[in-house]
């Protein structure tokens, strides 16, 4: 085996060990205090507390500023919306391709299909929060209830989605952006790791996708034709403020509910395709 490959493998192994140790350290605060766990669960499960803040920051950034500044902000935020759609798509495709179950699942005795063999995976000794929802999910897991969504936790779509939106807000308005970024990192993503739904590596990978795709769209937006298009749309949103407000309300609403309604709609379209076209 070449030396470089050996070094790469040992570095990868060290990195995964570090990732697991970090998660266990973060997760060590869970399962000790009923009150703390319920507060964490509230910020994870309640759309207003979790994503509503990000939606509010987005709306404030959209309506903030005057004249050319407002147009510039809207151009950034429009790019952010498009980038966010791509980020969600990318994280979903990656998570369905890369097999890495949620840490909570990895705490059980599981065997992964590799080729024609079932290979036992290492167990991750995570703590289960004491809130009702977490306990209910854990007992369901002990009964073998495994959601398909729980089998691909890498990368974190929450990290990708909320970070791309927060970064977009940050590019449009520093103050609001710091608030959105702080909320995303210290409330949403921290809660995800405390409750062992994601490892730091999942979150870092989601963040990387968010940064790369937003950067790509921002660079693309610097092209004349793209900039002209964004400028035209921004002007339209100012001219037709009632209609654009309705649109941006829908966007902020979906942001605040982590795109759950859009996903349901896409699920319905998939079901219609299967039943009507037999695909």
């Amino acid at each position: 085996m070449p030396l470089s490959l050996l070094i790469l493998l040992s570095a990868g192994s060290w990195f995964m060990t570090l990732n697991n140790q970090l998660l266990i350290a973060i997760n060590s605060v869970a399962g000790r205090s009923w009150l703390f766990d319920n507060v964490v669960a509230f910020f994870l499960d309640n759309d207003l507390a979790k994503a509503g803040v990000i939606g509010c920051c987005f709306l404030a950034a959209w309506y903030g500023g005057k004249g050319a500044d407002q147009t510039a902000r809207r151009k950034i935020l429009l790019t952010t919306i498009v980038a966010a759609v791509f980020v969600i798509g990318t994280t979903k495709v990656l998570s369905k391709t890369i097999f890495l179950p949620r840490p909570e699942i990895q705490s059980q005795k599981i065997y992964q299909l590799e080729g024609d063999q079932l290979v036992e995976m290492g167990r991750m000794p995570v703590r289960i929060p004491l809130d009702e929802e977490s306990q209910k999910n854990y007992h369901a897991l002990l009964s073998g209830d495994v959601e398909t969504n729980d089998l691909g936790s890498f990368p974190s779509d929450h990290a990708g989605f909320f970070l791309v939106i927060s970064l977009g807000i940050w590019l449009a308005s520093r103050r609001l952006g710091w608030l959105a970024l702080g909320w995303t990192v210290f409330v949403i993503l921290a809660a995800k790791m405390i409750s062992a739904q994601h490892t730091p590596l999942d979150v870092a990978a989601g963040a990387l996708v968010a940064i790369a795709e937003l950067a790509a769209f921002r660079y693309a937006a610097a092209r004349k034709w793209f900039d002209a298009l964004l400028d035209r749309i921004s002007q339209l949103t100012l001219r037709h403020s009632a209609l654009s407000s309705a649109f941006i309300f829908a966007v902020a609403f979906e942001m605040s509910s982590t795109l759950v309604h859009v996903r349901e709609f896409l699920g319905l379209l998939g079901a219609v395709r299967r039943h009507v076209l037999g695909g």
Partner: protein
């Protein structure tokens, strides 16, 4: 830089449109004392197995994907017993009597089919006798064969000379008798995976609903061994064990490509064998052995 940015966007777009999403597959052992192992796959000639039956060191398979009846053993590998040239279409479930005669059902061709101990296949009783879509099959203590019909919602008795009579009529309310097995006391368990109910027909011919939890339980195949009823659930991807007067216990959960668990059987040592239809259309499947951890 702009080119690089556009390349990232184009690649992302391409990946999202063209990426073939593979299903993750795992087995979660909710009972730590067991471990799973794949013993036969499509690469060794297996199609999509439905009914399984262990007997004398071999596993007899109603292979719904390959439209064949097969026999697998660790030393001899997979052997064909009969194929669809004899008229059957989708072997569903099977039983074997003490003399080594196999009886099997077929939900597409209907009827009860048999392969005698010498290996000669034939139709025992077909559609013309009212057996339209046969599912679960059980060997009655008197030697006759009980077979469930999913389209007629009835259970029929078939004698060794092919005479068919009604055993449980529509009035019993069993929608799809997918699998049936007798216990050691002469009670008949019936799995209905349309209504998601496990029934028990006692010796007095009274029908009882033993387990009915539509949201979390849908019995696919049942097998009785050493005082326990083993149950596969293809809807939820689970393997259960049930003992009378005890809670239903989950032994393992299957996810991804392995979720569609079908037939089940056990050997003398207590090892459990589960058939998995990973892709029925493409005739792919596995047989997984679930055995007790040593030591």
């Amino acid at each position: 830089m702009k080119r690089a940015a556009l390349t990232i966007i184009a690649l992302t777009f391409f990946a999202q449109l063209s990426c073939h999403v593979q299903k993750h597959s795992l087995v979660l052992m909710t009972d730590d004392s067991y471990r799973p192992r794949i013993i036969a796959t499509s690469k060794t000639g297996l199609g999509s197995p439905d009914g399984l039956l262990w007997r004398n060191g071999s596993i007899y398979i109603a292979d719904e994907g390959s439209d064949e009846m097969e026999c697998w053993s660790p030393t001899g590998g997979l052997k064909e017993l009969a194929d669809s040239h004899f008229g059957f279409l989708s072997p569903e479930d099977l039983v074997m009597d003490a003399d080594g005669n196999i009886f099997f059902s077929d939900d597409d061709a209907g009827g009860v089919w048999t392969i005698d101990a010498r290996g000669n296949p034939r139709l025992l009783a077909g559609k013309e006798k009212g057996l339209i879509s046969t599912e679960g099959i059980a060997l009655a203590p008197d030697g006759s064969i009980l077979v469930g019909d999913g389209e007629q919602h009835e259970v029929f008795r078939v004698t060794r000379d092919g005479a068919v009579s009604e055993y449980l009529g529509k009035q019993y309310g069993i929608t799809k008798p997918e699998s049936m097995v007798f216990d050691d006391r002469g009670n008949l368990y019936i799995a209905d995976n349309a209504d998601d109910v496990l029934y028990l027909l006692d010796a007095k011919h009274e029908l009882h609903r033993i387990i009915a939890r539509r949201d979390s339980f849908s019995p696919e195949t049942i097998f009785f061994s050493k005082g326990a009823l083993y149950i596969t659930d293809s809807h939820h991807g689970k393997l259960f064990m049930y003992r009378p007067n005890e809670e239903l216990k989950t032994i393992a959960a299957f996810a991804g490509e392995l979720k569609n668990v079908q037939g089940i059987t056990t050997d003398d040592a207590g090892n459990i064998y589960v058939g998995v239809q990973t892709d029925l259309k493409r005739r792919l499947g596995d047989i997984i052995e679930i055995s007790k951890e040593r030591g």
